[in-house]
């Protein structure tokens, strides 16, 4: 394409606004990570301290589980839902709107409502399961070390799969009819149409959505923080919650900044690799 420098003009305004907002926070976090509470330079002390904390490795592994568990199901469920909502059937408009509800409900309220429904004693879920005899006695969803993280992930999936569905649906809606017609001429079945027409066409959308889901999972702590605060015994502690706690509960802004810097470094590398390998290359050949 011609006149590639015009591209800069298009992207400049957005980058300037973001730069203005982010420049100082980035510099500030960097500086804070090597100073103590009194503002003295302490080298890598903060880093050493957070790395030696017992919670840090736990949080790291929990974060991996949390991110991967959430994203795999969010994407699969979201895409399936999008395909369903792309069908023609009566009441489709209503179902589409209803699908949006989990995502629209304020995070803190959704979290509290779930905590309430999952409570061993007050919870409607245990009541529903014990009533018809599906289980013998109430399950401590949030008090059992082996169920609590999966439950958190499930709530996160519930909260965010509608987002994937809506985004992918928008992509499906933009597919030109010619492509479908071509497939039909070849006598493609529905699932072949999904595989050879729909998925390839929304591939860029799914790639972008996945990346954003990773970032979202890494940055949004409301669900876990509101329900368990990372407990019991750090079973649901993820790194962003650890950072939040270090900064605002322990008033250790230096250590929180050190943890943020490491978190940021890992995240940016992952994102950059992702962009280089998945997002850009196929497009470059266009």
């Amino acid at each position: 394409m011609q006149k590639q420098s015009t591209g800069y003009l298009f992207v400049l305004p957005a980058l300037m606004v973001l730069g203005m907002l982010i420049a100082y926070p980035v510099a500030y976090t960097g500086l804070l990570s090597v100073t103590d509470n009194a503002g003295n330079y302490v080298g890598l002390d903060n880093f050493r301290r957070v790395l030696s904390a017992r919670a840090t490795p736990t949080a790291f592994w929990n974060t991996l589980w949390w991110v991967f568990g959430s994203i795999v199901f969010q994407v699969i469920l979201g895409v399936l839902t999008a395909i369903l909502l792309n069908q023609n059937f009566r009441g489709r408009a209503v179902v589409r709107s209803v699908t949006l509800v989990p995502w629209v409900v304020p995070g803190i309220v959704a979290a509290t409502t779930w905590a309430w429904m999952l409570h061993t004693e007050f919870g409607i879920i245990n009541y529903m399961l014990t009533g018809p005899g599906l289980i013998d006695e109430p399950v401590g969803w949030l008090t059992n070390g082996s169920t609590v993280l999966p439950v958190m992930i499930a709530i996160n999936i519930w909260k965010m799969f509608p987002f994937v569905a809506i985004m992918v649906l928008a992509g499906l809606q933009s597919i030109s009819n010619d492509l479908y017609e071509a497939a039909r001429i070849d006598g493609a079945s529905f699932w072949e149409e999904v595989r050879y027409v729909m998925l390839p066409q929304v591939r860029t959308v799914i790639v972008a959505v996945t990346l954003l889901l990773v970032i979202w999972a890494l940055n949004h702590i409301t669900i876990i923080y509101a329900i368990t605060r990372g407990g019991p015994a750090n079973r649901t502690l993820i790194t962003p919650i650890q950072i939040f706690r270090t900064a605002f509960e322990s008033v250790q802004f230096g250590q929180a900044a050190a943890l943020s810097v490491m978190f940021f470094a890992v995240a940016i590398v992952v994102v950059f690799i992702y962009i280089r390998t998945l997002a850009s290359n196929p497009e470059e050949t266009r």
Partner: protein, 282 residues
């Protein structure tokens, strides 16, 4: 889609659509329905062992509290102004940036694309204090503009990324034809690419709106005056040190959620396909 095309097109069997839809609606609505139920329960019925399915005497008391005795109506207005403002700003900036990323190849593009995400990769806990300082420098603490601008950090990266991917899906040949006919880049964007990606644009808009509508921690720290506080802060105001008026919180949540769901319902036309039908190369 018109009827002829629908007939020709293979689809999912009816029973599968029905089952899947029912399941989907149940999963999505169950907690929300529990919220609605809780909002019409009396205090005594909220927490019982075992839980109560249906309140003996549904009460509108909680809604009365929310609508007439709290700051929620005022915060509702603030939320609308801030969400509409930041969504509009994010969309305008993102449309240009995405077009740039989708249609041009320039040096350092992957780097700049990653840069867009930087603000999202820093944990909230780390950026909140310096962001406050930035807002003070700009003299924007406790103003609508302050929050509108700050929300760019949350909404802009996503909007840019999503729109870029939608724009990429529009066949570039359409624009090339237009350019040969003498159209400028901007005309291409506004006459061809944008109308064709309307569903994408609409979903990005919904995203930006919902995210800012529900955001809590920035609003808490950057809007301390009730003239700019938003709805999530209103929810927190029903809690005191050792108590929470859950009935009112649930009622307020319903008041917060329903308008968005209805808004989305009314915008269905934007999402419906067929806009692109026939518009692409023949």
């Amino acid at each position: 889609m018109n009827k002829l095309q629908t007939l020709k097109r293979p689809g999912l069997p009816g029973w599968l659509i029905l089952t899947a839809s029912v399941l989907l609606v149940l999963v999505c609505l169950f907690p929300f329905w529990w919220m609605v139920l809780s909002s019409v329960k009396t205090l005594r019925e909220l927490y019982t062992v075992p839980p109560i399915w249906w309140p003996a005497a549904p009460t509108w008391e909680n809604y009365r509290t929310v609508l007439f005795e709290s700051n929620i109506p005022r915060y509702f207005l603030n939320s609308i102004i801030i969400s509409v403002g930041s969504t509009a700003l994010a969309l305008v900036l993102a449309i240009f940036a995405s077009y740039g990323f989708a249609r041009f190849n320039f040096k350092g593009k992957p780097l700049l694309q990653s840069f867009v995400l930087v603000g999202q990769l820093l944990p909230t806990a780390a950026i909140i204090v310096p962001l406050f300082v930035t807002l003070r420098v700009l003299n924007l603490v406790n103003t609508y503009w302050g929050l509108i601008l700050v929300y760019m950090i949350i909404t802009l990266p996503l909007s840019v990324w999503m729109l870029t991917s939608y724009f990429k899906n529009i066949p570039v040949e359409l624009e090339e034809a237009a350019i040969i006919d003498g159209a400028s880049r901007l005309e291409c964007l506004f006459r061809i690419t944008l109308p064709l990606s309307l569903p994408g644009l609409a979903s990005v808009m919904v995203y930006a709106f919902v995210t800012t509508w529900n955001e809590f921690i920035f609003a808490l720290c950057f809007a301390t005056d009730s003239s700019v506080k938003t709805l999530p802060i209103g929810l927190a105001e029903f809690s005191t040190e050792f108590n929470t008026d859950w009935g009112a919180v649930m009622a307020a949540s319903v008041v917060m959620t329903l308008p968005i769901a209805i808004l989305f319902l009314s915008m269905q036309r934007l999402f419906v396909g067929g806009l692109t039908a026939g518009a692409t190369k023949g």
